[in-house]
Symmetry: C2
């Protein structure tokens, strides 16, 4: 199957069968697609929290627009972005780069100095606006990987960030929740969107040729 | 090839061969992946401007971090988000949905009323913060599609939004540039990143199991 076939196959599932779980092997492939997502300056300024525990899910539904979807899905992935950039975090990432590439430590220091200057002049709110954007790249690739495996997924912004951040103690990790991705297998009888035609605006409206 | 193989194959190309163009068929597949990207409430609040014209590219390089990459690539895709939501735009999208699905006009009015209330209470800056995020899903899927076709790509936030918006007259379209995606074929001799090992943080650091 091609990516385009997978993207045409998928939809945002509106109901899950609570009795079918995503296998550890498949879950790992979905997480790997998110991990391989390109990000600004390669900083990967977010983490993915994997929630399978039903008690935790029950607590996280408070304030969610589709509580039954969260309850019945197999796993909830929480895409949570760094609450701020710091010189220390930037160095950690690039020290890892030089180690993996067997290059001298500090090989990228002129570049990381630039990054530190740019982010050093910004507020934490500006940082988070930027780190949050990066999570959407990984969110999209995780959905594409799920579709390749014929696993259903539902991206969700409609939840209480306060509730989720609190339950998962994200502040202590320097993270703030951005989006959720529900994973599992649709309930054919109740997923009303499954039988509806996919709708996108026509290509001639979507693009502007210059 | 699988998505994971494609993601491992790709990197952000640092130099392009100016003599090799992406074919119209391949370009269309990349745009189709962006068009199929899921977005919040299905509103697709962005457009993709396709720039192949060399004179336009030369004008857009002012303020770009990697001017030679923009110059030498085959095509520049400009991901540009709605500068604001409006009741009219929401109705346009959902009128299209009901038409394509052969449903009565207004079938989703309770939902679109909710959307209008939510966005009606927000500022244009809040709107753009949200529409801009959605573009990253499409950016990621466009890169994945390019990789499937063994076409190189380079995502870029390092450019002058003011210059690009002005040259492409985006304000008149109710759009603001968010990211660029350079497409083309790497120059093997000068693309220094092509031979370097891909680096990502280890899976055990990237995920938090709950």
């Amino acid at each position: 199957m091609s990516l385009l076939e997978d993207l045409n196959w998928r939809h945002a599932a509106k109901a899950y069968d609570p009795n079918i779980k995503v296998s550890p092997e498949d879950l790992n492939k979905i997480l790997e697609a998110a991990r391989l997502a390109p990000t600004s300056s390669g900083l990967q300024p977010f983490r993915v929290i994997v929630v399978e525990n039903q008690d935790l899910k029950e607590k996280m539904v408070a304030g969610a627009l589709n509580p039954e979807v969260m309850r019945d899905c197999s796993h909830v992935l929480v895409f949570a972005a760094w609450d701020r950039y710091s010189a220390e975090k930037i160095d950690q990432v690039y020290d890892h780069h030089t180690t993996v590439r067997d290059l001298p430590q500090g090989r990228f220091s002129s570049y990381t100095d630039q990054l530190k200057n740019i982010y050093g002049a910004q507020t934490p709110d500006e940082h988070f606006a930027h780190t949050a954007r990066q999570t959407y790249i990984a969110l999209g690739l995780a959905m594409a990987q799920a579709a390749e495996l014929k696993i259903d997924s539902t991206p969700a912004e409609g939840f209480s960030n306060e509730v989720v951040d609190g339950i998962l103690a994200l502040k202590e990790l320097g993270l703030k929740s951005v989006t959720l991705l529900y994973l599992g297998y649709r309930d054919e009888k109740t997923d009303w969107l499954a039988t509806m035609k996919k709708v996108r605006i026509p290509m001639e409206e979507f693009i502007v040729m210059k």
